[in-house]
């Protein structure tokens, strides 16, 4: 952890340091194990994985079908699996239906495809408000939905982890899978925004 001498450590930082030193002192973990996990979730496991899944689904109708029927298996085809992604469900946004994800009880989130959850996803205001006034929350993310679009909120209260398959934006016909993956954002796979083509 980098140290900034200009400010005191936050309560969370102090707690994390205390927990880590206890685990090390008691011989339960090698400090290098913590570094390895931090490195993995900072550099290898994150929303670029989910973006590859989305781009594949946009370009391969058979893959998309498999993804919507058995998300866990189809995501594993691309090499993404593991803790907090053991049992995946992928739900599709359409012009008629907009899906958005939450874990009202805590912070459940599909780590292998989206990485660790953003702070706002874990915050009490998001968790309480997105279920009771989803359209208001989506507006705050800059997403205005027509009254005719149905909003579906998915609360991952159990062991399933969800990911939204966003709509492929218009004007991307003929794009390569890699170019499409570049467009896909974490927030679009949570369902708080749509995928857009920059400059359009």
């Amino acid at each position: 952890m980098s140290t900034n001498h200009n400010r005191p450590l936050s309560e969370v930082e102090i707690r994390v340091k205390a927990l880590e030193s206890l685990l090390v002192e008691k011989g339960l973990i090698d400090p290098a194990a913590v570094d390895a996990l931090i490195d993995a979730y900072e550099h290898k496991i994150g929303p670029r994985n989910g973006a590859k899944v989305v781009a594949r689904a946009w370009t391969d109708p058979d893959y998309k079908q498999r993804l919507l029927v058995d998300g866990t298996k189809a995501i594993a085809e691309l090499g993404f699996s593991g803790v907090q992604g053991e049992d995946m469900v992928v739900i599709e946004n359409t012009p008629q239906v907009h899906n958005v994800l939450v874990c009202t009880l805590c912070s459940c989130y599909p780590w292998p495809t989206l990485g660790l959850p953003p702070v706002w996803y874990k915050s009490a205001p998001y968790r309480s408000r997105v279920v009771s006034e989803p359209r208001g929350v989506l507006q705050e993310f800059g997403l205005e939905l027509a009254d005719s679009v149905q909003v579906r909120v998915w609360d991952s209260t159990a062991e399933l982890r969800y990911m939204v398959l966003p709509e492929r934006p218009a004007g991307t016909e003929g794009w390569t899978e890699d170019a499409l993956a570049e467009l896909v954002t974490r927030d679009a796979m949570i369902g708080v925004t749509k995928v857009v083509v920059p400059g359009k």
């Binding site: 570094d35 993995a40 803790v83 062991e159």
Partner: protein, 115 residues
């Protein structure tokens, strides 16, 4: 033995599913109308308060999973089906709900009754 970097990464890559490989007859079928029980257990539960006593429809059967309420208390796995249950916005939020909008919540078998 202290957990090594290799062990930590292997554990993260392997995961640990709470799914139970045990065939059980589901109590509910997709399309069944259900009511979430108004239970308020003193210990761990994974049923959010905002669906207690509310009516919904079984949308998906996710299969059989460990029941956290008993497992967390050291009272066994008590495996059972988990379903995605669809609630209308109006059912959960009354007059502040929005016609046509819906919420899907994952609910264990033990949390529900037939409606």
């Amino acid at each position: 033995m202290a957990i090594s970097p290799e062990q930590a990464l292997a554990a993260a890559a392997a995961g640990a599913s709470a799914r139970v490989a045990q065939a059980m007859t589901p109590r509910f079928n997709v399309g069944d109308h259900v009511m979430v029980s108004n239970i308020n257990p003193p210990g761990h539960t994974r049923m959010p308060r905002y669906i207690r006593g509310k009516r919904g429809v079984i949308a998906r059967d996710h299969g059989v999973f460990i029941f956290p309420d008993t497992y967390a208390a050291g009272r066994g796995e008590r495996p059972q089906h988990v379903y995605s249950v669809r609630f209308t916005s109006h059912e959960l939020w009354g007059t502040h709900g929005r016609a046509n909008d819906e919420l899907f919540v994952d609910v264990w078998d033990d949390y529900m009754e037939r409606a």
